[in-house]
Symmetry: C2
Subunit: 147 residues, 2 copies
């Protein structure tokens, strides 16, 4: 008694809901591992970037994380309060705010090094399937971004 279109409106059939739920559940798994580091998942993402590139500005960080200043400014202020990063305005262009990893922030990297492997083990899924999942997510992102 459902039209073809209406049938697609079933929650369990929607890819987006699966993606949405899996993403939240995965972040929840990270939460337990990040609690000892006193980091939230988005803060951990920012630290990941800084561990690779210890200095960059808010715009550059936003481009890597796909987040805007409305999200990043308060997040970075919290990281600053914890002593993990410093925020200083550029001398050359005072609109720009440089984010720098502090020594304390650098030290935190060692405590995070086990996390990716732990999450991988918790997923209890074949590496190959996870790689394929990642690849499909990246492609989906690109397709939607391109619109």
């Amino acid at each position: 008694m459902m039209t073809e279109h209406e049938d697609y409106l079933v929650l369990e059939k929607q890819l987006c809901f699966s993606l949405y739920s899996a993403s939240h559940r995965l972040v929840r798994s990270y939460r337990l591992l990040l609690e000892p580091l006193d980091l939230t998942y988005p803060q951990y993402l920012a630290m990941l970037v800084l561990w690779q590139q210890p200095e960059l500005n808010v715009k550059e960080l936003g481009e890597k994380l796909y987040l805007d200043s409305g999200t990043l400014t308060p997040l970075l202020k919290r990281l600053e309060t914890k002593g993990l990063v410093s925020r200083t305005r550029s001398q050359q262009d005072e609109r720009v705010v440089h984010i720098r990893l502090t020594e304390q922030g650098q030290l935190l990297k060692a405590q995070a090094s086990h996390i990716p492997k732990t999450i991988f083990q918790q997923s209890a899924m074949p590496l190959e399937q996870l790689q394929q999942l990642k690849h499909s997510c990246d492609l989906l992102f690109q397709q939607l971004e391109a619109l």
Copy 2:
């Protein structure tokens, strides 16, 4: 110069970040389509459930959406304000709140019927790959849920 563990700490190699970004981007695509219906994506998810089952309580809805009352109560109050659902306490057990689809809420279903197909087209990805993506997300969710 990176240890094996440290190499995993590269943002672009992390499945979770791909999942996280793809999920947010997909919700953003929904946002444009849902704007004419005056619904947010989580509100749309709640409506999807109600279009299948026009009456249920908060706990049942939470089990379907994997959300708790802290999220659902304000969300459902907003749907009530829009006239899409009613919220009434059970006579038998006054702790229970029944959520019912209103006539206006029912009418909204027709306006949403095109959305799944539109999103599918915007993804510009093969149906088979999307199905596989959904399946992997569902599996990942289950594995993490089972811990």
